[in-house]
Structures are given as C-alpha cells and as structure tokens.
Symmetry: C2
Subunit: 466 residues, 2 copies
C-alpha cells in the first residue's frame, strides 16, 4: 500500500483529479489483452513530461514501483502492475505536435492512438506504415515500447524503423532527448533503438519523432487460395525471389479457414488448405504489372483460386476474411493463448508441420495465421480454462512451439514482447550471458528498480510500496 | 608497456605469428583516416571468436586496454590506440559464411570488405545497399560499429537497417548472440542496434547477419546543375514531396564545383552554382517515368543543365564528377577536416549560408558536398597545417559549424561518429544526463573499462598497460 503522504505528493504533482485509488479505477488499469489481472495501489494520469519526471523522482525517493501504460492492449502483460504500485497512464499526452511535410517527419505525444495518427498523416499525402492489429485503440507510445509490427512490416519494417528520436523520462526521473529530426545521426550510443522494444522498463516515452513516407499512389489486393501450406509458403518465397516485395503477405492455415468459413460462409473452396492475402502498393502501373506477374508465378504452386480486387470496396471485402479470423476463433474454444513466433520465411511450412504434431499430441486445437512475408506466425492455442488440466497442457504445448521456432533459427516473439507472459520461457531463447548483459543495462539505468520492475527478466528484488 | 608475460600469453592465444610488436607493425596499426597517430604496444590478429574472447579475458585479468580495428578507414579515430595497449585486428575473420537466397539474408565475419560483399550478393541477384565512400577497403565490422552510411541511404537506410543479428564478444570476454535470422524479434533489449554505432566500445563484433534486398532491375543517373543552392535544395524537397524517393541525391556546392572543374575541366557551365547527382533505381518502366517527372519538377527551380545517362558507361561518367571531388580538394589546401553534419533536408540551404559566413569570418576555404537527400553534408574545412594558427582557426570554425547544425535541429555527425576527433564538441550535442546514461551503459558492460577506452566520451580512468 502507498502511504497517504505519497498519495498527497502524487496529487500535488498531477492534480487531485488525476490520481485514482477507487477500486473500480484500479480494476480498469489492472488488466490488458492477456486476461491477467493485478491491482495497482494508485493510478496517475500525468499531463506533461515534467509531471512524469516528478512522479519518477518521487518513486525513487519513496521506493515504490511505477508501471507506464498506454491503452493496455499488450499481449504479454507489459503494462500490468504485478506486485502493486503506481500505474502511470500516458493517455492525456495525446497531441500530434506537428507534421512536417517538407522533411517527412512528425512529432507526437505517446498517448496518440495509432490509427488516428495514420489518418492525420494520410490527409497530408503521407504514410505511417506500422499497423499492429490493435491500431484502433493502441497508443504510439506503447507501439514504440513494444516495437509493434503488423502486416505491412514485410515491405516497410517495424515501428523501430520509423522512430527517429524520443523524449524520455529515465527511471531516475531525468528527462533526456535521444536521436532527433535527422534520419542519420551517430553521436553517442543509439538510446533511441535501445528504448524501442524495451517494454517500458528503461524509460517513459513522452515524445516521439517519427519518420514518414510518401503515401503510395495505389494498392492492389489479391486473395489467393492454395491446396497446401507448402504451396502458399512456396508462393511467398517465389514472389520475393522474383523481386516483388508485397506490402502484405498474410497467411491463414486450414484450421483458420474452417473457423472463418463455418461462421461467415465466405465460399472458400473445399480443396482450399491455405490462404495468402497479398497486397502490393505503389505506382499505379507498377502494381498492375506486379499483380499480373504474381499470378503467373503462383499458378503452378497448387493455386485453387485467386480473387483480385478491382477497387477499394472489393479490397475491403477480401480483407474481411482476414479480419474475421479473431472473432471466429472463440467458436473453437473460449480461451486463447495468442503467441507470435517467427521463423525464417522459408521455414514456415516446417514450423506449421511441427505445430500440427504438437496439436495432435496434446489434443488441443491450434489455429495459425499471420505475416508469412516475414515468417511471423500467430499461433493461437485454443482452450477452455474451465476444463481441468487444459491450461497446463496449453503451457506445455506453447513451450514446445517456442522450441520448434528456435530450432528453426527463429524467435519466440516477433511483435508481442516478453512482459510477464513469456518470462517462463525466456531461457529457451536467451543465454545467461545475454540476460546478464540486459540486466546490467537495466540496473545501470534504473538503480532502484523502480520502472516496470519484474518485467521481461527478473532484476534484483522488486521494491514493495511503502 | 605490456609485460613479456602478457605478450607470451597473447602468443599462446592467437599463435606467435599473429602477435606483432615490431615498430613498423605498430606504426601500421596506429593511424587511420584522421591523420592522428598513437602507437599501440602490440597488435594481435585473432583467427576465431574464441581467440577474441580469450584476448579480452586476458585483458580483464591483466588490465590492459584493447582497441578493435577493421581496415582503419574511420574518420574520427575510433580504432586508434590512444594511451597504448593492444590493437585487435579482425581482418583475418574475413569469410562470407553464407548467402541465403530464399530468406534474403547473409552471415559474414567482420573482416569482409564492404565492396567485396556487395559484389558477391549481386552475383546472386541480391542487394546490400549501404555504400560508405570507403567501401573498397572498409570492413563490414567497422561499418556496423560506426553505423556507416553513404549516398544510397536516402532510399534504403543506413547500415543499422540491414543488421539483423550479431555474434559479439562483450568487453568481459563473454560471447553472446544478439538478434537473429528473422527481421522481427522482440525478445529482450535490442542489443543488436545498441551495438550498431557503438564504435567498438561495447563489444567486438565477430559475426553479422545482414538483411538483403532483391537487386533493383535497373537504374538511371542524372546530373543536374542549378543556378543557386536554394534551387538545388528545393529540387530535393520537391522530388520527395512528389513521392519519388531517389536512390541518391548527391549535392555539390559552388566551391566543390570550382575545385573539380579547375582540375578536370568537366565543362560545368559558368552559371552553375550547385549540382545534384540524382539516381533512381527499380523497375525499368517506373524509373523512366520517374526520370521524366523529375525533369518536369526541377525545370522551374533554376535548372541550368540536366544530363541523363543513357547507359551504364554514361552513368559512370556522371558519377566521375562526384568521385573526383575528394582528389580535387587537396588543390585548395593540403590538409582537410572532413566533418559530416546533418540537418533536416529542408534546412540544407540555411546551413550552407551559415557556413559561408563562418568561412568568410575565419578566412578558410570550406567545401561542401554530400547526401542532400537526408540532409547529410560533408563539410571540408581546408587548411595548411604548416601555416601557424590555421589549425586552431579550423577548430574554432568547426565548433561553429557544429553549433549551426544543432541550431537547425541537426546533428554533428551522420556517418563518422565521435571517436576521438569529435570528443571536444560532444557537449554541444549531448546533455549531461544523456552522457551519464551512456556512461552507465558502458560501465555496466565494461566494468574494467578495457574495450576501446577513452572513446566517444570519457568513462572513468583508462587503465594503463602493465
């Protein structure tokens, strides 16, 4: 519990209306997309960088933990206040400070919602490609902290590739600027990229300078259905091997197709075993040429059907198949563990085959879809937690799935991070010397272990609130 | 001086033929492109990662500094053994381990020469874009350690954007792997990008996994001459504002033109005040269209002449103008300080104007050229060191040039780094809290301050060789 004195200090810093301790408020900021739940002792809503800094200085003086939080849409518990303490919500810092059309950069506060930012830059003919599935509610600060991805990363890269500079409150409460307004810049260590994906453990992001691109002139969407996973996977490497890097190469396996088809009757042919949703964007003439070439290339690979959108409405209809995946999954089982392994692109069929075996062995439905272009597969282990033993089985299956990805030179997570959810498995991927180096960096920047303690990997002892 | 015992230990680790202590050998590894010189006590040439690790373990036990070195082509002294110690040369580790055409990745050792790597991947239809001017002799390990750039970065990004994973020997001698073979990967802190540009102070890179691209189908080169710097700068933002991101947008100012024209009589028109060398690459039809559009866009901006290469030979002839810049500079004055400031693209004319004033005030010739597409200007302060007072004047002028870049929201260095050369100015760009955070990271990973001590910013006391 936080003492009344600390609560009073917090109220002095952010204003009494911006400190919450009522149980209903604590509940609202105690969960995320993992379905885990931990109640904080207080929730603060700072309105400026200086207020964030003052909260962290107080936390260091009084030794209570602080958990930064955007929209709480994370899949690994990165924002959850395990052990109690103060949740620091950045959603009041939600201004787009400027969009510079001449230098193709934008400066924003961390609480701006991803999609809102995309829409604003697109009005000016510019483009911010990273598109995590949560973009309608996730915040840009959270996107940077987790190094969010999305379907368009195969062509454009991940959030990190668009972050040029940050304003950050370090765990000690010091305010620093990293990087800047120029894409090139090599003065000092690259704290900008160290902060990207550090899951809120090394600093609270209070401003972000993003690199933007010119908005592509046009796009073309194709829904392609194959008679085998190997065909779909081969299509991915064939397209890229022929110098076409599509904007998206979204993959859905047979289990996914069955789910969606059953619920929404989309008319997927019976011999369809895998779907690739392919989109190309750019110059209008070029993408026409690319679409034609893609059809030629994939025809011999067991192509069952290829629907090409003629306009935006038809494109939207094709994307519907992909968007309906998540709502359909609950028909399989009520609870899901959504993992996001990555393997080198050519190894996608191999990892799917291993997952099929794991599914048979544990007798749990596993549904796979995701970003085949960069080998990033969302593996959904579907269980019913009310059935005794299912959750335990799921954890065992997940450990084997992670190991399968690692055995194929992949990683346990391409987008979601470690947080709390993947901690039990981190030793599978990171060797002790790697973890020790990361812990040393954490300790160097957060000597009192104040900021988001206990996340990613354990560092020292988490301090208890007074 | 290193004791005989340590020298014997070093010989045991790397073999007696791979330890040099003769004066002529020490001289060879005591300089770089800065013209600074510091003699090491010994030079070792390890032949494996394990040997690198053993040298660093010995260094930690016996407390002597180790300075990693590639080709020694750096412009800021990052590889120089100031204070003495052991230079650890990685050029024996020079194998391209594999090029994976299916997953578009390559794994190399750090001593591979940049251009050689580019040629090898191009034979397979692949593309490694980063192209520092030193690419004929610089090594990939050095490129990563300095986060090297080059003309093509405006479209493709810097070295960091192509590094997917590393094998690194930490300063303590521990061997770790960072990142991996997948572009997405968010398990743990991003040590890969922290290492990129850390100038050999946080680890010795022993293997690199690079991301590759498909080789563009074709390219088109245009040499465009403008009657003012503003016209050339406006051309840059107009082209990009019209959704064309050229591969290169190389800029040369009037002083540069005069130099080249005087020596090589290239027939630059009298009213030519600035040159842009523009190259586009990609789909053959698309680049034709882009070249036509670029001509339309830049015509009203004071275009004096526009030469378009019809084939590779003509392209090479146009590039000659750019390549002749460096050899021509020595006609101005025998000694140069080559700085590489960056400003937001739209601020290039502003910074050039400030530099002109600085040049007048100090009465030193300053020649500017570089990568206008990303605002990265190479500012060459040309002096004759044998004239008393000129060097001092140059340093004062450089400090003002850096400040001018910073005042325009730029940076002191886009490609060269800090090393020793920019240390006196680092406080202009980095605030004490930023430097403190970087020092804390350095101390966390290199508690004995063994690896490349005294570089970038001072950390503790450099230990003296026994």
């Amino acid at each position: 519990m936080l003492s009344q004195k600390i609560l009073d200090e917090l109220k002095k810093i952010v204003g009494p209306d911006n400190v919450a301790t009522d149980r209903q408020d604590l509940i609202c900021y105690g969960y995320d997309a993992t379905q885990m739940e931990f109640l904080p002792d207080a929730v603060v809503h700072p309105g400026s960088t200086d207020e964030v800094a003052a909260v962290l200085k107080l936390a260091n003086a009084a030794k209570f933990p602080v958990f930064p939080r955007g929209a709480g849409s994370g899949f690994t518990g990165g924002a959850l206040p395990k052990g109690g303490g103060v949740v620091l919500v950045v959603t009041r810092l939600n201004r787009i400070l400027r969009i510079d059309t001449e230098n193709l950069i934008a400066e924003v506060e961390p609480g701006v919602v991803t999609e809102q930012f995309q829409q604003e830059v697109e009005k000016l003919g510019l483009f911010y490609p990273p598109d995590p599935a949560s973009l309608k509610f996730s915040t840009l600060g959270g996107n940077v902290a987790e190094n969010a991805g999305g379907p368009r990363c195969v062509k454009y890269g991940v959030t990190r590739d668009f972050v040029m500079g940050l304003e950050v409150v370090l765990p000690t409460g010091e305010i620093i600027r990293t990087g800047g307004e120029t894409y090139k810049g090599v003065v000092g260590y690259d704290l900008t990229r160290l902060l990207c994906g550090s899951e809120g453990t090394l600093g609270v992001i209070t401003k972000i300078i993003f690199k933007l691109l010119p908005l592509p002139e046009a796009k073309k969407t194709m829904l392609t259905i194959f008679d085998s996973i190997d065909g779909a996977a081969k299509a991915v490497s064939t397209i890229i091997g022929n110098k076409i890097i599509p904007t998206t190469l979204e993959f859905m396996d047979y289990a996914t197709l069955q789910c969606v088809n059953k619920r929404f009757s989309l008319g997927i042919p019976d011999n369809g075993r895998a779907v690739l949703l392919i989109e190309v964007d750019g110059d209008r003439d070029l993408i026409e040429k690319q679409a034609t070439r893609i059809q030629e290339l994939i025809k011999p690979l067991g192509l069952v059907e290829c629907k090409i959108a003629k306009d935006a409405a038809e494109s939207e209809a094709l994307w519907k198949v992909r968007r309906l995946v998540s709502p359909s999954l609950r028909d399989v089982n009520p609870d899901k563990f959504n993992e996001d392994i990555v393997v080198p692109r050519s190894k996608v069929p191999d990892v799917i085959r291993v997952i099929e075996k794991i599914q048979q062995r544990y007798d749990i439905p596993i549904v796979n879809f995701g970003h085949a272009g960069d080998g990033n597969i969302h593996v959904n282990v579907m269980i019913d937690k009310s059935v005794p033993g299912q959750e335990e089985k799921a954890h065992k299956a997940i450990a084997e799935i992670f190991q399968a990805a690692l055995d194929l030179n992949g990683t346990m997570s391409g987008e979601h991070g470690v947080g709390l959810a993947k901690q039990p498995y981190i030793h599978l991927e990171l060797k002790p010397a790697q973890v020790a180096a990361m812990q040393a960096i954490k300790q160097a920047l957060d000597p009192n272990n104040i900021l988001n303690p206990g996340k990613m990997f354990p560092v020292g002892q988490q301090c208890a609130p007074e």
